[in-house]
């Protein structure tokens, strides 16, 4: 995997960004992703079911996420649900997208400071 492979996904679609962010550090099922995105954004971003699964399908075919074979502890596991996790490419793409967004924020801040002066 090269940096070029990852860069072709940039700029990342907002839905994809939120899904990838939800999978950082842990596996999640579809409903969990939906809930987390809603909570994290205070309801500003709502991933409806069809959009969510359409995005998950494309993220899988793009190699950014994959289905996880590991299951959480039995008491937490919902056997009927499918879990997803980030791939190495997915992590790299998310990293690059975050960098891109940070740079944009920095640029905006710089501009604002210049205007203030």
């Amino acid at each position: 995997m090269t940096s070029m492979d990852a860069r072709k996904f940039l700029p990342l679609h907002a839905n994809w960004f939120h899904i990838l962010l939800s999978l950082v550090g842990r596996e999640q099922h579809g409903y969990g992703i939906m809930q987390e995105v809603q909570e994290r954004t205070n309801g500003a971003v709502k991933l409806w079911p069809a959009t969510l699964y359409g995005s998950l399908k494309r993220l899988i075919s793009g190699g950014l996420i994959e289905e996880s074979e590991e299951r959480p502890a039995t008491e937490l596991d919902d056997a009927r649900r499918r879990y997803y996790k980030l791939t190495r490419l997915g992590k790299r793409v998310l990293e690059l997208e975050c960098q891109r967004l940070e740079e944009m924020v920095l640029m905006a801040q710089k501009k604002r400071k210049q205007e203030a002066c």
Binding site: G30, M34, P49, A50, T51, L52, Y53, K57, R81
Partner: protein, 902 residues
């Protein structure tokens, strides 16, 4: 449950169930469950708006998912086709060939039937089948209930045009129409500049005026912005340009485009065609009438109204008791708003001929495509079974096949359209065989192209779907186990049963043979008779035409000129012999109207006269000597015959050809015998060899040559003559003629200056070109048939790998296996050939019945016998060759590998 939730959930489930099969397999359950979780939450957080958004989200995603799958199908189809470039190329090529052929054949031959450009609602225009006199026309045009507008015209009238003021300036010849003042208003044309004619402005005795076309304005007047009001000299008379026609208007029937429009009131001084006072002479029925029918009025109704008017006018005439045949006085009308004027009979023939050719080519292409796709579909049974067992839905597989077929058809359609435009462009650029200007528009007709494309597309889709539907219904287990053999009943070899595929092969061979034979009949028969074989030495023979009256000569001056010119010219350096004729040799053969009825009485004067139809040509002294055609007996006209008419009471001399002599006198000597044409009598003074000169007649036709006298020419309404000059060998072509005329008569415009070889080449060029088109058509039919047969045989061999393997394992030799495959191919080719032969003969008979030219062309016995035997043999040979390669491949099958594979 909240009723709103329940409605929302039902809708959600309904839409979720409609998602593509493969999506449902992976995400279906999750999607359903998430929906069930999301409904109460959406209601809780967002209320009714939340439920609406939930349903809207899934409704929007549904087509997106399907589009994604279609995209995948297209990518997959491109990959599949790229993996079999041979199949793809052959399928696209056969489609492209078929579409191009259909389009060019149909559009080319019906180009004269297209609507006339530049006129308003040309479909409402009708023309009289016969000529009408101007006094009668003045009454016809008043029949307002059937004539929304009416005009009369003379077409293809030559005008010698020179700039005004310069009397010595050399004139150029242009073609024009002599029209009644209502011409432009009847056609619905408005001027681009100036004004058009009207009954108020155009009256007899007024200063001559002319309207010019945009083309004339650009080429001759150099786009002069002050052209309106400018004077030009027409046939030596000053005429003022009063208007310029719009760019797309080139007169009525622009197949022979006009450059000038002159009103009938201009007088015979400007237009010799108007000699004899045709505006007041009711017997001069020389004008073609064009009528605009009001909306809702039929041709029949208009004919009835005009017939009633004709009868009334005939009765009022001073010579009302004159014996007029009521039948011959019937006014016939025919549609006229087309590119060229054609009779309804010609139109019906063109349409039926085109339709049959179109059906034949298209059925050939469809059968070809069907064979290729069916064979390929059967070969992919194992692939289909594998994909079905991996979870692909049947609908998805059918869609996949459909995508491949549509892609193939579209590629073929695009290639065919490009090819059709290219061929049309080439045809339009071809010079047409005529001394005057002709223009033809061979551009593909959008409707014909669209119909051909649609039929090809439907055929492609249907043929692609058939194997897919059959395969997805087949037993997966059996298909995986038996591969290509699945679905074939035990013991039934590919060709041995009556199947759709076999039917297609037979249809394909039959259609190819029919096409090959019909095009062959046209190429050998029609092509041979249209080719003129003069039978004399055309080298060192130059010709040109003269029209002295249009150059300002009086009738007396023209008579003197014609009497002296042969002698004057023969004294010029390099000139060996000179002769005059009323038209170029073979020129009269291009038209059908020169037929006349010749008759002769038996030698003893008793009994019924013998008669025959004959061409009539007017020729001057030394005509045959100049051409180099020897006389069989008697002598040809000498200078005395040319200089003066025969004295009253004596019969005019005539020369006839051998065909006329045979028809009128059998084996008797015709010299000195009397022949009659209309009311005139002639004495036969010579008999000439038949010149094999058929433009359309297949055999030499009886021809009578009458003396072209100087007085007769000068008295003619449109006196013009063609001068034939035999020059010494080594003389530069045409140079001697031009030099001699420039020094003898510098004031005369000589036109149609060409060598006899050039003239013949021009006449033959179009015939050669059109026969080449049909030849290419026949070759393409052969090519298409070979492709289809090869494809089917290859498929059969592939399907019977196992059987062939077993046969070879049991000791069958390669030659025996090859023989088996070839035998079965031969059976189909024979059945198809018999059907094709019968069909072609039926078509030949049908075409001969409706078209005289084709009947004459088809009447050539020798080449057709050769063709009837040769074409099926050629096709069978090619078909068997197409069977041979797969058969040979069959012998290379390794029995062990074939049995293990299956």
């Amino acid at each position: 449950m909240n009723p709103r939730w329940s409605i929302c959930l039902s809708l959600y489930r309904y839409l979720a169930n409609a998602f593509p099969h493969e999506f449902r397999i992976v995400y279906g359950q999750d999607l359903d469950r998430l929906g069930e979780d999301a409904v109460p939450e959406a209601w809780r957080r967002h209320g009714l708006w939340g439920l609406v958004r939930l349903v809207a989200d899934i409704a929007v995603r549904l087509p997106i998912e399907y589009l994604g799958e279609i995209r995948q199908d297209v990518v997959y189809a491109v990959r599949v086709l790229a993996r079999s470039p041979g199949f793809a190329a052959v399928a696209v090529l056969s489609l492209a060939l078929g579409i191009a052929m259909c389009s060019v054949i149909l559009c080319g031959s019906s180009s004269v039937l297209r609507p006339m450009p530049g006129a308003r609602d040309p479909g409402a225009l009708v023309a009289s089948r016969k000529g009408v006199s101007y006094p009668y026309f003045e009454h016809y045009r008043e029949q307002k209930q059937v004539a929304g507008g009416a005009t009369v015209l003379l077409v293809s009238v030559p005008f010698a045009v020179a700039p005004s003021g310069g009397r010595n300036a050399r004139a150029e010849r242009f073609s024009g129409h002599i029209v009644s003042p209502e011409y432009f208003s009847t056609l619905g044309v408005t001027p681009a500049a100036g004004r058009f004619f009207s009954p108020e402005t155009e009256k007899s005795g007024m200063a001559p005026v002319v309207v010019v076309t945009d083309r004339f304005w650009r080429s001759y007047l150099n786009s002069d912005p002050r052209a309106v009001g400018r004077e030009v000299r027409l046939n030596g008379q000053a005429a003022t340009i009063v208007g310029i026609a719009p760019p797309d208007f080139q007169g009525m029937w622009p197949f022979i485009p006009a450059d000038l429009f002159v009103p009938v009131t201009c007088g015979s001084l400007l237009a010799p065609e108007l000699a004899g006072d045709p505006l007041h002479n009711r017997d001069l029925e020389m004008f073609r009438m064009v009528v605009r029918l009001p909306h809702g009025v039929s041709i029949k109704a208009a004919e009835s109204a005009f017939n009633a008017m004709t009868l009334a006018l005939d009765r009022q005439a001073p010579d009302a008791d004159r014996d007029r045949n009521p039948k011959s006085r019937q006014m016939g009308l025919m549609p006229a708003g087309t590119f060229g004027l054609t009779t309804p009979e010609q139109r019906a023939f063109v349409y039926s001929f085109n339709f049959v050719m179109w059906v034949l080519i298209l059925s050939l292409v469809c059968a070809n495509l069907a064979n290729l796709l069916l064979a390929r579909g059967s070969q992919r049974r194992r692939e289909i079974a594998l994909r079905l067992s991996m979870g692909a839905s049947r609908a998805r597989l059918v869609r996949q096949f459909l995508t491949e077929s549509v892609l193939l058809s579209l590629a073929g359609g695009v290639a065919g359209t490009v090819a059709a435009y290219w061929v049309a462009h080439m045809m339009t650029a071809l010079p047409l065989p005529s001394s005057g200007p002709l223009q033809a528009d061979f551009r593909p007709d959008f409707r014909i192209l669209a119909l051909t494309l649609a039929v090809s597309l439907v055929a492609g889709i249907a043929c692609g779907l058939a194997p897919a539907l059959a395969s997805v219904r087949a037993d997966i287990g059996l298909a995986l186990k038996e591969g290509g053999q699945a679905g074939v009943p035990p013991g039934s070899g590919g060709y041995r049963r009556f199947s759709l595929r076999n039917l297609f092969v037979v249809a394909q061979v039959a259609a190819s043979l029919m096409l090959l034979l019909v095009t062959g009949f046209i190429v050998t028969g029609y092509g041979n008779v249209t080719r003129i074989d003069p039978g004399f030495d055309t080298h060192n023979l130059d010709m040109f035409s003269l029209d002295p009256v249009r150059d300002g000569y009086s009738a007396r001056e023209a008579e003197t000129l014609f009497a002296r010119l042969p002698e004057q010219l023969s004294r010029a350096r390099g000139v060996r012999a000179v002769a005059l004729a009323d038209s170029a040799p073979f020129g009269s053969l291009l038209v059908h109207t020169q037929h006349g009825r010749l008759s002769a009485l038996p030698r003893d004067g008793d009994g019924r006269p013998v008669w025959c139809q004959a061409f009539s040509e007017r020729i001057g002294a030394n005509y045959f000597a100049t051409l180099g055609v020897p006389l069989v007996s008697g002598h040809e006209f000498d200078i005395r015959d040319q200089q003066s008419d025969a004295p009253p009471g004596t019969a005019t001399p005539a020369v006839i050809n051998q065909s006329a002599a045979r028809a009128l006198f059998g084996g008797e000597n015709p010299i000195g015998r009397l022949i009659h044409q209309d009311a005139a009598s002639y004495t036969v003074v010579g008999v000439t060899h038949d010149v094999r000169s058929g433009w359309l007649p297949a055999i030499p036709v009886p021809t009578v040559f009458l003396p072209l006298t100087a007085g007769g020419m000068a008295r003619s309404r449109t006196p013009s003559a063609t001068v034939l000059v035999r020059v010494a060998g080594g003389t530069a072509p045409l140079a001697a003629v031009r030099d001699a005329m420039a020094s003898l008569h510098p004031d005369l415009t000589i036109f149609n200056v060409q060598t006899m070889s050039g003239n013949l080449n021009q006449i033959n060029a179009f015939a050669e070109w059109s026969t080449t088109v049909y030849f290419v058509l026949g070759l393409s039919a052969l090519f298409l048939a070979s492709i289809g047969l090869g494809g089917v045989t290859a498929y059969t061999v592939a399907q019977r790998r196992k059987e062939i393997g077993i046969r070879m394992a049991l000791g069958a030799r390669g030659r025996q296996v090859q023989g088996l495959v070839m035998r079965e191919g031969t059976a189909l080719v024979v059945v198809g050939s018999v059907c094709g032969l019968a069909g072609a003969l039926a078509l030949k008979r049908a075409f001969s019945a409706v078209s005289e030219p084709l009947a004459k062309g088809f009447a050539q016995p020798a080449p057709h016998a050769l063709l009837l035997a040769g074409a099926p043999l050629l096709l069978a040979g090619l078909a068997l060759l197409a069977c041979y390669f797969p058969a040979r491949r069959a012998t290379k099958i390794d029995p062990v590998a074939a049995l293990r594979e299956e």
